[in-house]
């Protein structure tokens, strides 16, 4: 929810007007009688009731929405709780205009009417801390409001930062699957590299794969030499040094020359177009693969051509491995930002709200009991 979104304006106005209207009886009482406002007076009780209903509504509306939008079965007790909450929030659902509103609408309801509930609580309490239980309620409410404000602020900046730093943001739940995909692709490339590598470099290559590359792609990225761009470049440079696979400076030019040579050998137009399409993809790996597929069967390559193709492919595949690591780093950054974007909610806001709900119920029960 963007604070600068114009759709917030009606909510802000409605909240301000309701807050002002709600505070009027409190101020009138303060004007008319010297008796302090407390939660135990008639007015205070109504304030408390209104605040409790509103707090429960804004707090539990997302649980109801979750139940509404759920497509998967849940453990029985969770589903039961959700259904109970749906029943409790029945009045909201009865408003047709509100019933099919998107989640953004209910988020605004949560934020603005949550603030309104704080005003009602202030009126209910007469702006006093009270005893042990009510002090605990105040602390929880304050922390919830603060964590909500923090979450709102994070939502103003983190999504932009995420889009900037992770251009190809993936669904958060899908990241482990993508990690496995990255690792599978790396396995494939390493097998190919190993197939064309001399025997003495194969060991080094496989050691790098099993000891560094695969754990990084599948596991926790921090602490790995591939975790940062700088250390990853150093690692791949070392690998090239050990294997003797130097960087092809102008690989595109050399590929063009390689293809030109093939053209001179009267390659069919259809095959040439396929090669050029592969160039357009700007994928060295695809190019090498395609070249290999194209010529290995129909037109056997000459030894010099095979060596040149192997050189180009090694270079392309190593670069592909580096790109896999770069993708993994971007996903790690997405995970980090997602922690801040969603963690405040999971670790602070929601648990505190649950605690507040429990203690509010205790407060209500104790008040009516005595």
């Amino acid at each position: 929810m963007h604070l600068r979104d114009r759709r917030n304006l009606p909510w802000a106005i409605v909240t301000a007007v309701l807050a002002a209207l709600a505070a009027v009886p409190c101020f009138m009482r303060a004007f008319l009688t010297p008796l302090p406002m407390t939660g135990g007076t008639t007015l205070g009780l109504w304030y408390g009731t209104a605040a409790a209903v509103l707090m429960l509504s804004v707090g539990l509306v997302f649980v109801a929405l979750r139940a509404r939008d759920r497509r998967l079965p849940q453990p029985g007790w969770i589903a039961a709780v959700e259904q109970l909450i749906c029943v409790l929030l029945w009045p909201l659902r009865m408003i047709p205009a509100w019933r099919k509103q998107p989640r953004a609408f209910w988020l605004r309801f949560h934020v603005w009417f949550g603030l309104l509930s704080v005003v009602l609580v202030l009126c209910h309490s007469g702006v006093r801390a009270g005893g042990l239980l009510t002090i605990a309620l105040w602390v929880l409410l304050g922390l919830i409001v603060l964590s909500g404000a923090l979450g709102l602020l994070l939502q103003q900046y983190l999504p932009g930062s995420l889009a900037q730093q992770v251009p190809q943001e993936a669904p958060f739940e899908q990241l482990p699957h993508l990690y496995r995909g990255l690792a599978g692709r790396a396995d494939e490339l390493v097998v190919r590299l190993a197939a064309i590598a001399p025997a003495e470099t194969k060991t080094e290559l496989l050691g790098f794969h099993t000891g560094t590359l695969r754990p990084y792609l599948l596991g926790t990225p921090s602490g790995s030499p591939l975790a940062t761009a700088l250390s990853a470049d150093e690692t791949f440079s070392k690998l090239r040094l050990i294997t003797g696979w130097s960087v092809v400076e102008d690989r595109a030019g050399e590929v063009e020359k390689f293809i030109g040579a093939l053209v001179e050998r009267k390659l069919a137009d259809k095959a040439l177009n396929q090669v050029r399409d592969l160039f357009a993809l700007e994928s060295p790996a695809k190019l090498a693969q395609a070249c290999n597929d194209l010529f290995s069967a129909a037109t056997p390559l000459q030894p010099a051509e095979s060596q040149q193709l192997a050189r180009l492919c090694r270079d392309a595949w190593l670069e592909d491995l580096a790109r896999l690591c770069r993708s993994r780093r971007e996903f790690a950054e997405q995970e980090r930002l997602s922690f801040w974007l969603h963690g405040w909610l999971a670790l602070v806001h929601v648990p505190l709200s649950a605690a507040l709900l429990v203690l509010t119920i205790a407060h209500i029960v104790a008040s009516l009991y005595y």
């Binding site: 009688t33 010297p34 008796l35 302090p36 407390t38 939660g39 135990g40 007076t41 008639t42 009780l45 109504w46 009731t49 497509r71 998967l72 969770i78 006093r128 009270g130 005893g131 042990l132 239980l133 009510t134 605990a136 190809q168 993936a170 669904p171 958060f172 739940e173 899908q174 990241l175 482990p176 699957h177 993508l178 995909g181 692709r185 790996a285 695809k286 592909d320 790109r323 896999l324 770069r326 993708s327 997602s338 969603h342 909610l345 999971a346 670790l347 929601v350 648990p351 505190l352 709200s353 649950a354 605690a355 507040l356 429990v358 203690l359 205790a362 104790a366 008040s367 009516l368 005595y370």
Partner: protein
């Protein structure tokens, strides 16, 4: 397809379409963290109730005087709060009946003619209507609005005709002149003649006059004798030489002759005669220097006469006057020989002479020299005689009682101790110029308002000066009805 070539299309191709079925930590953690926090809240609540008992549910801390039974709610709340019923009834029910308060407190009503908050047996009622507990503040430092509920329009809240107090008061700024000043010119009813101006200026004049040389000053101090230190004290302490605060430093104790006057105004018996021998002369001088006791409350000039005779007889006993009546049965116990007729007649003559001086009418003061130093002026120098000089019973004068006024504003409380940083004359401005006993040196309301106003920051609420309950109705006073064990449930630390 390579994941490294992640165009949006490529990314979509590499995703599992049912990925949303697999929840990751934020959602899973959110559920379990919420459940855990709720359980933790329940545990914390149970622990708090176990540790603090009913105190956990208090609406706020109790006031300090009630802290002793904070955990025993039933001490005050003898009835149910009936919280649910308050949803539809606006009548305040504080669950604190007056009986709970009156069990420990005697709370006299405020005024006989008030029509509200008045219970039976001269007790105030609806205690909790004003004294609200659990607000974390004093139970007696109530806001002015509790007072102005009635005093903003007193006629509506009293019976029996117009009130003698101002009908409309909203705050101290609008407070009328203090009651004692409000009617005719206020006069001190005291009968002791006293001149503040002289007493505040004289010591400095006598002791430290710049016109005197050092030798003259020394000579003057010698001449002043035992009065010199008293003058020095008076010079240094000024007002508080005579006006001593009480133990609570709220008010001033009455001025006492023995403590404050007798050094400079001693009551002596000058034995004056033509002495033929040195022994009698020196003995007469010594006894003349001794002070007589000033009559206390209920005593009269007869007491002075008795002590005067005692001095004279003692002189006779020690002077060794020849005695011809050793068998005289009636004699003062201090004599070591019988009293002779000669002794009696001599002593009577001396007494008459002494009383002539001591009880001299004020009209004869002009003929007295050096009255201050030797107190030759007699009692009338300070006291006002009720009887005419020629109609004194037994020749003894009767004087008006001093009538020192200890409280001028009986409806207000004052604390001199709270104002100790200020000079006395900051409020009692006329003290240095007052010459008459009838001068009332108390400040008026306008002077108090100079400091006691919201802008100056000095508190100006009603309860700063006024008490609501009439403490004269507290018949038991400081002798309450409860034992310590009854009052404090935790008596003995158990």
């Amino acid at each position: 397809m390579s994941l490294a070539d992640r165009s949006p299309k490529a990314l979509t191709d590499s995703l599992e379409l049912d990925y949303f079925r697999r929840q990751r930590w934020p959602r899973r953690l959110r559920t379990w963290a919420a459940v855990g926090a709720a359980v933790l809240a329940v545990v914390a609540f149970i622990a708090a109730v176990g540790a603090s008992g009913q105190r956990s549910f208090q609406a706020g801390p109790v006031a300090e005087p009630h802290a002793g039974f904070a955990d025993d709610c039933a001490k005050c709340h003898g009835e149910s709060f009936r919280t649910a019923s308050k949803f539809w009834t606006s009548s305040p029910h504080f669950a604190t009946p007056d009986a709970a308060c009156l069990h420990c407190h005697e709370a006299g009503r405020h005024a006989a003619r008030q029509t509200e908050n008045t219970g039976t047996n001269d007790q105030a009622s609806n205690c909790a209507g004003c004294h609200r507990e659990h607000l974390g503040q004093s139970l007696v430092r109530l806001s002015d609005r509790y007072c102005t509920q009635c005093h903003a329009n007193l006629a509506q809240h009293t019976s029996g005709g117009p009130a003698k107090y101002a009908n409309t008061i909203h705050d101290f700024a609008g407070h009328p002149e203090f009651g004692a000043w409000r009617n005719e010119q206020l006069k001190d009813p005291g009968s002791i003649r006293f001149n503040h101006q002289v007493h505040l200026a004289l010591p400095a004049t006598l002791l430290d006059s710049e016109k005197l040389s050092e030798a003259e000053r020394k000579a003057r101090r010698e001449r002043l004798g035992e009065m010199a230190p008293a003058f020095e004290n008076l010079n240094q302490q000024q007002c508080q030489y005579c006006h001593e605060p009480d133990a609570g430093r709220r008010y001033m104790k009455p001025v006492r002759y023995d403590n404050h006057c007798s050094t400079c105004h001693p009551l002596r018996v000058p034995i004056v005669a033509s002495w033929t021998d040195e022994k009698s002369r020196s003995l007469a001088l010594a006894i003349s220097g001794e002070r007589l006791h000033h009559p206390g409350p209920g005593q009269t000039a007869a007491n002075v006469r008795g002590e005067c005779l005692e001095h004279l007889f003692r002189f006779l006993a020690k002077a060794g006057t020849p005695s011809a009546m050793k068998q005289e049965p009636a004699r003062p116990p201090i004599l070591d020989r019988p009293l002779t007729n000669t002794d009696r007649s001599w002593a009577e003559a001396r007494r008459a002479e002494i009383e002539r001086i001591l009880y001299r009418p004020q009209s004869e003061f002009a003929r007295v020299n050096d009255t201050v130093l030797w107190s030759q002026a007699g009692c009338a120098y300070c006291h006002q005689e009720k009887t005419a000089p020629d109609q004194r019973p037994n020749g003894l004068p009767e004087y008006e009682p001093p009538q020192q006024q200890s409280r001028w504003f009986p409806h207000a409380e004052f604390n001199h101790g709270s104002h100790r940083a200020m000079a006395c004359t900051a409020c009692h401005e006329k003290a240095q110029t007052s010459t008459q006993t009838s001068d009332v040196l108390l400040p008026k309301a306008d002077l108090c308002k100079q400091c006691h106003n919201p802008a100056a920051g000095v508190r100006s609420d009603c309860v700063t000066c006024h008490l609501y309950h009439d403490r004269t109705c507290e018949k038991r006073g400081l002798n309450g009805m409860l034992s310590a064990r009854e009052l404090v449930p935790g008596f003995g630390g158990k």
